[in-house]
């Protein structure tokens, strides 16, 4: 509307402000003010009812208690700032408003500049822009699955774990341990040490239970170790038969061998010999181990690496910001690419002629020329990010929703349901408005400046 009237004002005879002032009763287009008023009325009524009234009512409502009857002054605001959940929300909102728009814009800029130079640029742009076609809700559900903790289901952890496991050997029997009466004691850190000392020629058995069925199912049957003169021998096996029918701590027929278990012989706190169990569960230690205690180091029983807890308390906000960037980087890229198309080629050529390398061209010429576009993108994203709700609501699991809290979510939580305080909710809404105001102000000023240009 503002552009229409501006255009109308400019077209007929270029009326200067001085001329307009002369004809006081008439507006710039020559219509009477009351006529203009009538035409404006529907818009004013709609804006008033749908925008101004709700804002005013929220401010008013924020001064009353939960029932809406008792005036409480600024108590709701005080409660808001003394509430941990709201404070986390404010903190997170600040993180969001700084990180999300800048990362999305930076990525958009990189994509835009690079796609200009590759042959399949348009196809690439199309792909990067595609997440914009997905609703926030659907994107939230997608990322909830991506960040799933179980590496068998979450893509993020599947990648992470497979990279990790390429470089690290994973423990053979997570969670396994001897029975309490098996003659082994647990030392700090989860290692198990035999109470008896090893004697050459007498096999020392190491029965374990609670190895996962998956880890054991393919194993050979355990064999009793043969005594060997001058050597310490024994068997490590899974001391459990179907239905718990076997005798405890005795190698029964059909019990499975535990292969690849690390065994150390410890004398006076020092490791004198070590080995790993064979496929049939037996092990052999040299004569040095005579008189030592045998220790099964904690490594054998450690949990397998399960990747990163993306949606845990510490990473949940960055993880959700990541999903936001996935959606909005495409938007930033398209706008910046459009701006880039308008950058005069000759300036870039001139810079190159003057001996600037590509990085300098980008840094000193392209980015400054793009500055107006970049600020549009950043400001748009900032406004968008301040009201972020859906992604957080969907992605954050219940246990870490507190840590992922943002203002819009807190507003919703405290306003809607059966047992709520809409006064507090209104106070949060007012605060959110105040929060957005500077960004809006900046945006409006920029639009004005541009329309003047």
């Amino acid at each position: 509307m503002s552009t229409a009237t501006a255009g109308g004002a400019a077209a007929p005879g270029r009326a200067t402000p001085a001329q307009v002032k002369d004809k006081k009763k008439k507006s710039i287009t020559g219509t009477r003010l009351w006529v203009a008023g009538i035409f404006l009325l529907p818009a004013l009524v709609l804006l008033g009812a749908l925008v101004v009234y709700p804002i005013g009512y929220s401010v008013y409502r924020s001064l009353f208690d939960a029932s809406g009857d008792g005036f409480v002054g600024l108590d709701n605001y005080r409660e808001m700032f003394s509430d941990d959940a709201t404070m986390t929300a404010i903190k997170n909102n600040i993180v969001w408003v700084i990180v999300a728009p800048s990362v999305a814009t930076a990525l958009g800029l990189i994509f835009a500049v690079l796609t200009e130079r590759v042959r399949w640029g348009t196809a690439f742009k199309l792909i990067v822009f595609m997440p914009m076609a997905i609703s926030m809700l659907a994107a939230g559900i997608i990322f909830r699955l991506v960040y799933e903790a179980d590496p068998d289901r979450g893509v993020a952890n599947a990648v992470w774990v497979s990279v990790h496991d390429t470089f690290n050997e994973s423990p053979p029997f997570p969670g396994a341990h001897p029975r309490p009466d098996a003659g082994m004691t647990e030392s700090s850190g989860g290692a198990f040490t035999t109470e008896a000392t090893a004697k050459a020629g007498t096999p020392l058995s190491l029965p374990l239970v609670a190895a996962k069925r998956d880890d054991v199912s393919g194993a050979q049957d355990a064999k009793a170790a043969k005594p060997e003169a001058g050597k310490v021998t024994g068997t490590v096996w899974f001391d459990f038969t179907r239905g718990d029918r076997g005798e405890h701590n005795v190698l029964d027929k059909g019990e499975k061998a535990l292969a690849d278990v690390r065994i150390e012989a410890v004398k006076d706190g020092k490791v004198v010999a070590k080995t790993t169990s064979r496929a049939d569960g037996t092990y052999t230690l040299p004569a040095k181990a005579e008189g030592a205690q045998l220790r099964l180091p904690a490594w054998n029983f450690g949990e397998p690496y399960n990747g990163v807890d993306w949606l845990g308390p510490s990473l949940v906000t960055p993880a959700i910001i990541g999903s936001y960037v996935w959606i909005w980087a495409g938007f930033a890229m398209v706008l910046i690419a459009a701006g880039l198309a308008g950058v005069p080629r000759e300036l870039l050529e001139a810079a190159r002629m003057d001996g600037a390398n590509e990085w300098q061209v980008f840094r000193r010429v392209t980015v400054p020329l793009l500055a107006p576009v970049l600020s549009v993108v950043v400001v748009t994203l900032m406004i968008n990010v301040l009201k972020i709700f859906d992604l957080v609501y969907i992605i954050a699991p219940g246990a870490s929703q507190d840590e992922a809290n943002v203002l819009a979510l807190q507003l919703y939580q405290s306003s809607f349901g059966t047992d709520v305080n809409q006064g507090l909710g209104s106070a949060i809404a007012v605060f959110l408005l105040v929060f957005v105001a500077p960004v809006m102000f900046f945006n409006i000023r920029r639009i004005r400046r541009e329309s003047r240009r």
Partner: protein, 455 residues
């Protein structure tokens, strides 16, 4: 928030019905499982134990949250009523927000004649507003004959009887994988001590014994409620539910300490504590039943609605998946329940007659043999249930007599007992994270409870 929660539970129970129903069909006993052959009722005709007035030409409108199979089965109950009285009964699904639906109809001056309400709080609200009408003497007599006092009281408000608990659910069940139990040589546990011992045995056998869906706070509140009810007794349970004793009470401490014997033990929770915290309830069931022959976990605790998830996971109810009552922590095993209560919103002969009918074993018989239904009616012959798990669930409900209790968190204000990342849900998740910090959690619970109950 509460609506969405309710929706979740509603949907769950709807699926539970479907699953139980299909499971029943596989066991060759169920009749008319909501398939096209729904009319071919091969089950026995219901007994006639209650005298109903002749209501020829009368119209009745009934509302409940049920849709799908549940609606179909409930309609069978209603047509039996039509057959006996000659009244015309129409069923209107209310959607998930029963209070909102009835409220809007009330405002319009045209409420349904009878509503089946899922929350005890909503029933009280209806009674308080004068929307619900007290039952007549015939219904009262029928209730006295067929229901234990506890169920009658749960349907009353300020000394007047308003409701008939037609359909109930039992939230004190341990579902277990039979092959994991057989492999470990484990047995159904009767006491908490036995339960822990069996869990250790299963753990030794190489299967994680207990799968906890800790990502959903409500499963944790149900754990606590069962332990607390059995250990501290029904009187204390009621006091705590109304926040008349504090959460810092020694009885709460004892219950949390007991719970920590399981939650804090090494190797007893599937995936460990952090794994449990990241597992949503449906996934916790999947862990125990998706690979029925060699599962990741052996047991899951939850109410009868878990049957739906068990079937979704692909396990056969009654053969691969079985159920036993929550073990007794104190003297008796706990029975924590939920249920749908029928109330009259118009005081007419026809609506009163329908309540009388719903209070009789005749009505319960119709739905019970279709499956997906548990009744607290003592006079209902247990043999009509289509399969063993359902029969066991129903038996436990009736055997509890008056010692059952309604889900505590469902009685609490929503901000304490019904919202993710808040109140009891959050506190118990923190407790699962760190089961050593009993007193810290008690203080956190008390602080949140005091705020929610405003006292």
């Amino acid at each position: 928030m509460l609506t969405s929660l309710r929706r979740k539970r509603g949907r769950r129970s709807a699926r539970a019905a479907l699953a139980l129903c299909s499971a029943g069909a596989l066991m060759l006993t169920a009749a008319g499982c909501g398939t096209d052959s729904g009319e071919a009722d091969s089950g026995s005709p219901p007994p006639v134990t209650v005298k109903l007035p002749n209501l020829k030409g009368k119209q009745l409108q009934v509302t409940a949250v049920w849709t799908g199979t549940e609606q179909k089965n409930f309609t069978k109950v209603l047509s039996e009523f039509e057959k006996r009285t000659g009244a015309k009964v129409s069923f209107v699904p209310s959607g998930d927000d029963m209070a909102g639906f009835v409220g809007s109809k009330m405002a319009g001056g045209q409420p349904p004649d009878v509503a089946l309400v899922g929350q005890v709080g909503v029933l009280r609200e209806f009674a308080q507003k004068g929307w619900a009408k007290p039952v007549n003497d015939a219904t009262k007599a029928e209730l006295a004959k067929n229901f234990s006092k506890g169920w009658q009281e749960l349907g009353s408000y300020k000394g007047k009887q308003y409701g008939v608990y037609f359909k109930v659910s039992n939230k004190s069940l341990i579902w277990y994988n039979t092959s994991a139990f057989a492999y470990a040589g484990a047995k159904e546990a009767k006491t908490w001590k036995e339960f822990l011992a069996q869990a250790q045995l299963i753990s030794d056998s190489g299967t994680d014994p207990v799968s906890v869906g800790g990502a959903d706070g409500w499963t944790l509140t149900d754990w606590f409620e069962n332990v607390y009810l059995s250990q501290a007794g029904p009187e204390k349970y009621d006091l705590l539910a109304q926040h008349k004793i504090k959460w810092t009470d020694p009885s709460v401490k004892q219950a949390l300490t007991t719970l920590a014997e399981l939650w804090g033990a090494k190797g007893l929770l599937a995936g460990g504590r952090s794994g449990a915290l990241q597992t949503a309830f449906p996934d916790s069931v999947v862990k125990a039943f998706s690979n029925a022959a060699e599962p990741d976990a052996a047991m899951v605790f939850e109410g009868d609605f878990a049957a739906a998830n068990v079937s979704d996971a692909g396990a056969q109810l009654g053969s691969e998946a079985k159920v036993f009552p929550f073990p007794a922590v104190g003297k008796t095993a706990p029975v924590v329940t939920g249920g749908d209560v029928a109330v009259a919103l118009k005081n007419s002969e026809a609506s009163q007659a329908l309540l009388t009918f719903l209070a009789s074993p005749d009505a319960a018989h119709v739905w019970a043999q279709a499956g997906g239904f548990v009744s607290a009616n003592r006079k209902l012959d247990l043999s009509v249930y289509p399969n063993e798990p359902l029969r066991k669930i129903a038996k436990a409900v009736i055997a509890a007599g008056d010692d059952f209790r309604f889900d505590m968190s469902d009685q609490a204000p929503a901000s304490f007992g019904g919202k993710p990342a808040q109140g009891e849900w959050k506190a118990l998740q923190d407790f699962l994270k760190n089961p050593k910090d009993v007193e810290g959690i008690q203080r956190q619970l008390e602080r949140d409870a005091a705020k929610a109950y405003r006292n």
